[in-house]
Amino acid sequence: MTGPMTGPRGARPRRTLSPGNIMLYGTLIVVCLYYILPLWVMVMTSLKGMPEIRMGNIFSPPVEVTFQPWVKAWAEACTGLNCDGLSRGFWNSVRILVPSVILSIAVASVNGYALVNWRFRGSDVFFTILIFGSFIPYQVMLYPIVILLREIGLYGSLWGLIIVHTIFGMPILTLLFRNYFSSIPEELFKAARVDGAGFWGIYFRIMLPMSLPIFVVAIILQVTGIWNDFLFGVVYTKPEVYPMTVQLNNIVNSVQGVKEYNVNMAATLLTGLVPLLVYFISGKLFVRGIAAGAVKG
């Protein structure tokens, strides 16, 4: 055997406060300040009374916390003659959101699946068109869609809006699903075909159960996108089904003399609550889902 144990031994010593670490965490914290700042401002402002806001510092916490702005934003703020705040729009948004998310994800996932596993003639062209579609500014398509919806008789109905969301969610979602499905071994698909499963059999029994991560990503993206939509919501529906964002726009943009910043901020936060919650709760799954194949070109 060798000589005595002299010199260094065991783990290399590590200082937790090494310059590198200080730099690393320092940078991260500074960056986080940039990200948190607006949220901080929104929350703080929404808890202040108007006099306090007028006096001053938007960054400072409220001297006197008041939830009045939240109450007002939720239940009392007026747009035109309706003074029931966001509450009405909230349920409308839910009514729009749920079917839109379900339909758009269903269609896009089947699409991605077909693109990967049942490569049909022109599937490349089809995919290219979809990607092209993702670049089209919504404003450009307002008119053609009005005409389309009119022709199929769905204009002004909830279903019309759902179809619009599905169409515009399609490009990015299809891209995600396509990338994900192409990372699933093709053999699995072949095995299922030998087992006699058809297009739908394979989709529902084999592919779907394996795709949880990407569905989480898709759901998060769609919930955010559809919930935050204003343009389609206001153009393709009627006042009784206007989503929350229309109310938000009305509250924020209709000024009673002075802008009630606190109410605006409360309304903004209330409107953003659903997607924010979705992110806070499932942010981890989101990253995992993306890592699970969404970015493999």
Partner: protein, 388 residues
């Protein structure tokens, strides 16, 4: 019957005025379903047009008088109100008659005018001048002269919002105020391009170039935010239409005491008579059609006119109503109106396309600081020519 009414009246005074309309309509047993869309006409109009062309029209909808809805009428999408007009004798009572002309296409009437708006007003904060120990200006000229002192006191001389149409409006007001009525008529009514390119017009641009310096520190977006600067005495004045009065009123200010209004910028007391009108998209349901006609008649009725315009701060469309409750500014407007010192509104003379382009030009001119009056004038003429 339920009738959905879309409009973009959402600011304080406006909303209160709409409430009057709704109250009157509901009183007759119908139901006013409010479809307010905030953000001004530019946000709301696409929605309205989409709804109408998409085959799912609302019961009634606000448009500005004039060319905005012309094509919809021509396409046969609007309800013919001629019978209502005749039954209620609108031809006689609507004043000035140009309002009704703007509703008439091929001899048929398609809209019910509700108010008259004139953009050419200068609104001043009395307190700013009192604090400085200066007299409140009575003309644009005095206003400009006092500006350096205002500025020295850390106040903004002229409040101006960031949107294109506000710059355009200010320029229009300066044209009438500084350039005079004749020039204005030559350019806008007779569409005399030589006049538009002439030295008098250049002087107007010069005046506007001076004014934009006064507005350089104004950093708000919306018109009512700008008005608020005047209300809160952060700014000395604002060029804005008479609808600004609603904001002063909601803020509890009193005309003549807290604020001063100068129609035609105090130089030429003329006002243009644009305004709002309601259109009624065609509908297959006869019950709704009946309700539409009821609403149309109601809008022009004297009681509603008084109630509505008092709240809105605009002028009624008929000369035969008594606005005893009107405040100082409104009375000034009524006088001018009664005196016939009126000119047609931009919406009636120029197409929205030209107006938008003018707005773009003025926004660039007012906010850019570096565009010379000559340059601006040259482009101004170009744009007008495109609209001939």
């Amino acid at each position: 019957t339920e009738l959905e009414v879309t409009h973009w009246w959402t600011s304080g005074g406006e909303a209160a005025a709409v409430a009057e309309l709704a109250k009157a309509f509901n009183a007759s047993g119908d139901v006013w379903v409010d479809g307010a869309i905030a953000g001004g006409g530019d946000t709301a109009r696409p929605v309205m047009i989409s709804r109408i062309t998409g085959g799912d029209p609302m019961g009634a909808t606000q448009f500005n008088h004039g060319q905005q809805a012309l094509e919809l009428v021509e396409a046969g999408l609007m309800l013919d109100l001629t019978d209502v007009a005749e039954a209620n004798n609108w031809k006689e009572i609507v004043y000035p008659p140009s309002l009704l002309d703007a509703c008439t296409v091929d001899g048929k009437i398609y809209c019910a005018p509700v108010n008259i708006h004139s953009p050419e007003w200068l609104w001043l904060s009395n307190k700013v001048y009192e604090d400085l120990g200066l007299p409140v200006p009575t003309t644009w000229t005095e206003f400009v002269a006092s500006a350096p002192q205002v500025e020295a006191a850390g106040k903004i001389p002229l409040a101006l919002g960031n949107q294109n149409w506000q710059s355009n409006l200010a320029f229009g007001a300066i044209t009438i105020g500084v350039g005079g009525l004749d020039l204005w008529k030559q350019v806008n009514v007779d569409k005399n391009m030589d006049a538009a390119a002439g030295p008098e017009m250049l002087a107007v641009f010069q005046a506007a170039a001076d004014a934009r310096k006064l507005a350089a520190k104004s950093t708000v977006q919306d018109w009512n935010q700008a008005t608020n600067l005047v209300i809160t005495d952060q700014a000395a004045g604002q060029i804005m239409g008479d609808w600004a009065q609603g904001e002063f009123q909601v803020a509890g200010e009193v005309a003549g005491k807290d604020y001063t209004c100068l129609p035609g910028l105090g130089l030429n007391e003329y006002i243009s008579t644009g305004g709002d009108a309601f259109y009624f998209p065609k509908n297959s349901d006869p019950e709704i059609e009946a309700a539409q006609k009821r609403l149309a008649a109601l809008l022009v009725s004297p009681e509603v006119q008084v109630a509505f315009n008092l709240k809105k701060g605009s002028l009624p469309i008929r000369g035969d109503v008594d606005l005893a409750a009107a405040n100082d500014c409104m009375k000034k407007g009524l006088e001018i109106l009664a005196g016939g010192n009126i000119v047609p509104a931009g919406d009636m003379i120029w197409s929205p396309d030209v107006q938008t382009q003018l707005g773009d030009l003025q926004a660039e001119f007012w906010k850019g600081q570096e565009m010379t009056p000559e340059e601006a004038q040259a482009r101004y003429v170009e744009i007008l020519k495109s609209g001939l």
